[in-house]
Structures are given as C-alpha cells and as structure tokens.
Amino acid sequence: MKAVSVEEAVAIIPDGASLMIGGFMAVGSPERLIDELVRQHKRGLTVIANDTALPGAGIGKLVSAGLVSKVIASHIGLNPETQQKMLAGELEVELVPQGTLIERIRAAGHGLGGVLTPTGVGTIVEEGKRKLEVDGKEYLLETALHADFALVNSFLADYLGNLHYTLTARNFNPVIAMAGKQVIAEADNIVPTGVISPDQVHTPAPVIDYLLMNG
C-alpha cells in the first residue's frame, strides 16, 4: 500500500477508465476522490455503482460534469440528470437488479466466472443471457463484473490500509474493494495500526493499493 495525495491518486486514473465507486445514495461515497475527478476533468468514464445519487452529491457530480459515458447501476430514479442524459442518448445506462449487481462484483473479486441467480427469470433482464436449470429450478448465468479501479470510502483506515466501515456507509464498499484491479481507499479517519482490532477489519490491507493522505 502506498499513501498518496488525492491529486496523485486521481492522476493515476486515465480517461476512459472503468471505476467501481462505493456508496448508496452518496452515503459511503469517496467524495474527495469524486471532487478531484471533476477537477482533473477525467472523461469517458464507465461508472459501476448502486446508483447515481442526486445532482450535486457523490456520483451525481460526475454525471453533472459530463464525465461519464456509461453507468452500470441498479437505480437512477432519484437523479433526473442521469435519466435526461440517458433519454437524450448522451449516456449509456445498463440497469442491473441490485442483488445481481453486487453478486457480479463479488464474483469478480472472488475469482468466480459469475453466479446463478433466479432474479430476472421471466423478465426482460433475461434477454441475451444463458438460462440454466439446477435441481428443477431456472437460473440466469450472470457474469463477473470487473473494473480498472475501485474507489472505496471507509470510516477508519490504519497506517497499513486495513479498513473498517460503519453503519449504512458500508454498502458496496467492501465488495468493490475486492474487485478493482487497483484499489484506492479514502478514509474518514486514519488511525494508528492496532486501533482497528483484527475482528473489526472488514477489508484486509493487502487488497488496498493506495490510501489517500489527509489534507
């Protein structure tokens, strides 16, 4: 793990990168990284996340700034800008059931080719997908979803990069932390190693590539 400034961290991300971003309606989203993506004007991004929050919050800032070319998410209903850009053809949106989205990300991070889920069988979600019958029940084969970077927000990080999340700010964060080819963590608080006790570590330090320094 390398400790970096937010400017250095975002400079590593090229235009056109695919980014998994933690957060649920901007709760648990890495706001410093998002603000810096806007400042450095990284373009053509593919964003993989639960939702696109609201205009002016979390991932909504990337959408407003016109930096996103594709969104893979479960819900965009609370961000009218995302819907407008989608209907205008400026933004490609792939909608995925929330439980399927998190499992596709988990599969990538856990070395699996995909998962079998009953969700979406008999709906338009099954179009173009393989259907398999296991013990008499139908499932869709949903493939693993990879990304160039995972941008993670935690409540605590220690000097090694062990992460601890809190309350409903955990959401997608520990799952994407396993799935990004490179993982950048932004912690609300950096604490001395040992403050997070072993049982309280949700994301082990070795999966973190970069930790944002304070300031």
């Binding site: 649920f24 309606m25 901007a26 709760v27 648990g28 639960n50 939702d51 929050a53 609201l54 998410a73 479960s74 819900h75 965009i76 209903g77 609370l78 819907q83 989608m86 209907l87 949106v93 909608l95 059931p97 929330q98 439980g99 399927t100 998190i102 499992e103 988990r106 889920t117 009953p118 969700t119 979406g120 069988v121 008999g122 709906t123 338009i124 979600v125 409540f155 999340y165 809190t166 309350l167 409903t168 700010a169 955990r170 959401n171 997608f172 964060n173 520990p174 799952v175 949700h202």
Partner: protein, 216 residues
C-alpha cells in the same frame, strides 16, 4: 380516510411477531406507522440495516445511517448492519418474511410490474426484482386506479418485475389474493361496494359469496 392510510393500515394487519420485513418507498413505507400493539418486527433497509427505527429527533441525524432512499433514520437496540452482498443474500435467500412494494400494474394471475414505463420513466429496478423473487411473502400496496385508468389488468403490458406471482394486493378499495393464480376479492374498504371494485378493475375478479369489509 385517506387512500394511502387505508392501504397502510390494512397491510399492517399482515405483520406477525418476529417477522423480518422489507418495506419499499411511497405508500409501502407508511406501513411502519401502523404496527399493531404488542408486535415486534425487524425492519430491513436494503442498503445494509436490520432494525431500522424512526426518523431521528431534529439535530440528531447521522450522515452514515440512512434508509434506502438516503433519508436519515435511527437504529433500534439490537440492530445490525452489513454490506450489500449480505443484504441481498437475506432477500434472495428467503430470509425476509414479508416485503411490501408499490405497483404500476398487477395482472389477474398476480404478476407485478413496478419498475419502468418504457420511454417515459426508467428509474431502474433497484432491489425490487430480488425482493419479489426471494421474499417469503410479497404484498403490493397501490391505488386501485391511476387517473381513472385500471391498474389491475388482464395482462401486464409493462415489463414484469418477476416471474413469481404476488401473494396479496391491497388497494384503497379492496384486498385481493391470487389462489391458484386467479385474482380473488377478499375484502372491500369501508363505504365501497363490490360493484365499485368491479367497475374499477379490468382483470377478471372472482367474487366469493362472502366478501368482508376491511377492519380498519
């Protein structure tokens, strides 16, 4: 009585002690306000919480503790939090006893469409497809008609939420179940007649000899 309150009060009567319950947004979320006395249920917020409590007192909100709509909530004693994979494992894995969701259309077999109007409104399915697929009991809370147009139809022409049929539909006019895949009128709202319900319903509705009035 206000239509939404009628629906929420009637659905609250379906709650049983010890249930794990997931409430959707809109009318569904009002069900928590009418929990029968002496009954304890666990409410799940799919963003990662079991034990969701009421809105906090002014000035006591925490940015890191919200419901699935991003609104501040409290966590009751005994609450627990988890990531989204566990949250949807609970939902898809059959651990959620009951879910209450809104609807755009329900057909006479009990299929639900509630996540998009093609070309018009595409909010995304969020957790709805997983909830309808995996919850033990699926209850739909919706107005019987929308702008005078029937929402309980012969066949949904909007994209379905799941292949699975719902268990119970509660509207401002009626309670409808789907035994054997056939819409059956169980109850009517106070002040409403069976004829009123039939006039507002496009689906073929089975009317048994005895139709109760909602006890709300």
């Amino acid at each position: 009585m206000d239509a939404q309150i009628t629906i929420a009060k009637r659905i609250a009567q379906e709650l049983r002690d010890g249930m794990l319950v997931n409430l959707g947004i809109g009318i569904s979320s009002l069900v928590a306000n009418y929990l029968p006395a002496g009954i304890h249920v666990y409410f799940q917020s799919e963003n990662g919480l079991i034990g969701t409590g009421p809105v906090p007192e002014p000035g006591m909100q925490l940015r890191l503790l919200t419901d699935a709509g991003g609104r501040p909530v409290t966590a009751l004693p005994g609450a627990c939090t988890f990531d989204s994979a566990v949250s949807f494992g609970l939902i898809r894995g059959g651990h959620v006893d009951m879910t209450v969701l809104g609807g755009l259309q329900v057909d006479q077999q009990g299929h639900l469409a509630n996540w998009m109007i093609p070309g018009k409104m595409v909010p995304g399915m969020g957790g709805a497809m997983d909830l309808v697929t995996g919850a033990k009991r699926v209850v739909v809370a919706m107005q019987h008609t929308a702008k005078g147009k029937a929402k309980i139809v012969k066949q949904c022409n909007l994209p379905l939420t799941a292949e699975r049929q719902v268990d119970l539909l509660v509207t401002d006019l009626a309670v409808i179940a789907f035994p054997g895949g056939r819409a059956t009128l169980l109850e009517i709202a106070p002040g409403v007649t069976v004829a009123d319900v039939l006039a507002s319903t496009e689906a073929e509705l089975i009317v048994p000899e005895q139709v109760l009035t909602m006890a709300i």
